[in-house]
Homo-oligomer: 236 residues x 2
DNA sequence: CGGCTACTTGACTGTGGTCAATTGGTGTGG
DNA sequence: CCACACCAATTGACCACAGTCAAGTAGCCG
């Protein structure tokens, strides 16, 4: 059940960073990576662990989270095929770099692992690629700011509305049937991604349903009023 | 009342990015910058404005914030001499880049402004400097994560405690008198930096005082029990 | 002295977190 | 094939943290 090279190539081609470099550079980058196959629920690294390197998702799902002392979870990111994570410590003080959060698979997954040393040597030899990396980091930073904004300036309902709107495919393949968001993660994780708990998420979903903005059934969420949702997520 | 070259040199030398490059590179970088002197309360750019370039603080204070539709403020950053801000959009899609937040001076300030085009050409000609930039961005990202963590996992009192602990100078110049944090910004800004409102900050300060962890008087906050504060900010 | 702003304090309210019980779906074993 | 166990999700009751509104105080400048 090894992954095919096409899958790897596919994931890399769609990647913000890997997709931006030349084909030859990409080829030599693949050489650096080690394939890791892990089952659902595996912890790749934990908050505070000594930094080893970063990952690229080929198949599966990974969530990056932090835990409060009391055990509440805040999900920073849910990573899907073609996305990479944990590059941040690459460029910090080398000696005692640690992972800033915990990474755990939400499904059986195939990952490409890039050891810090090897990757840094590559960047060192190809300084131009650092620019692509900067683009990547900038996006992350902007996303972090939006998340921060959302958590402290919007209530749960608005955050949920925003999240749903962002999930809706921009091009509607069928103008009549309402666009549908299929949840491929447990609701508890979505809750933690919105900075809340499952109970509150449940009530927020119900509340949006009562307002006829969505129709929710198990992990299928049909958006019946995209405009209304968008408006809710912007204005108070 | 123009700033001296020493002040500029000083600010740059202590900067994470500018301080990391060679002296000659730094010299040519100064050439790129334009000095701007602005009085307190000036808005340098607003959330959504077309991106022009980034700033380095020589003297004064600048806060970077976002506003909710209802007008509540979230302060992302308070910038002091030797710090730079608004580099993020440099490396994003060039055509329609915008500022992700608003920047306003909290005091009469002197800034060095770097136009995007010129600076990018420099990085292009000196790709190695991109690595320093990456280090810079990484720190930002990590800070953003900690802020996110704080806002959604800690209550106001804990966030305040953490903030105060971080302000305490690491080396105590006098072992007997308690370390003191001098607020150089209005409390309303500190409140927004902690993701709350002035009233709540006021109560949080009082509450820490009642616990004999601090002694607060106007903008002087004496830390009487650093250990206790630290503990409060970690554990629930 | 008057008026302005920053900050504080009090009373009230609401969002959302906690705890607990219930439902529902899924997989395992008798 | 049903029974049971287990986990995810929902619902209800309760409560507390913190935001709002309003009044009051203190400091500062004209």
């Amino acid at each position: 059940m090894a992954v095919s090279d096409e899958q790897i190539e596919d994931a890399m081609a769609h990647h913000d960073f890997f997709g931006g470099v030349t084909a030859e550079a990409r080829a030599s980058l693949i050489e650096l990576g080690r394939v890791r196959e892990v089952e659902s629920g595996s912890i790749l690294f934990q908050h505070g662990d000594r930094y080893q390197g970063f990952y690229l998702v080929i198949t599966g799902t990974v969530h990056i989270y932090r835990l409060s002392p009391e055990g509440r979870m805040l999900v920073l990111h849910v990573m899907r095929p073609g996305e990479s994570f944990a590059e941040v410590p690459l460029f910090e003080e080398r000696a005692d770099a640690t992972y800033p959060a915990t990474a755990e698979t939400l499904a059986d997954s195939t990952l490409l692992f890039f050891p810090a040393e090897a990757f840094l040597s590559f960047v060192d030899a190809n300084p131009r690629t650092a620019l692509h990396m900067l683009g990547q980091m900038s996006k992350r930073l902007r996303k972090a700011v939006r998340q921060l904004d959302a958590v402290s300036l919007q209530d749960v309902q608005e955050r949920l509305a925003r999240h749903l709107v962002e999930q809706v495919p921009t091009v509607s393949d069928d103008p009549d049937t309402p666009p549908t968001v299929e949840l491929d993660i447990p609701k508890s994780v979505l809750a933690a991604e919105l900075g809340t708990v499952p109970e509150t998420l449940s009530r927020a979903l119900r509340s949006l349903e009562d307002k006829d903005l969505i129709r929710s059934e198990a992990s299928e969420i049909a958006i019946t009023d995209v405009q209304g949702l968008r408006q809710l997520s912007r204005e108070g």
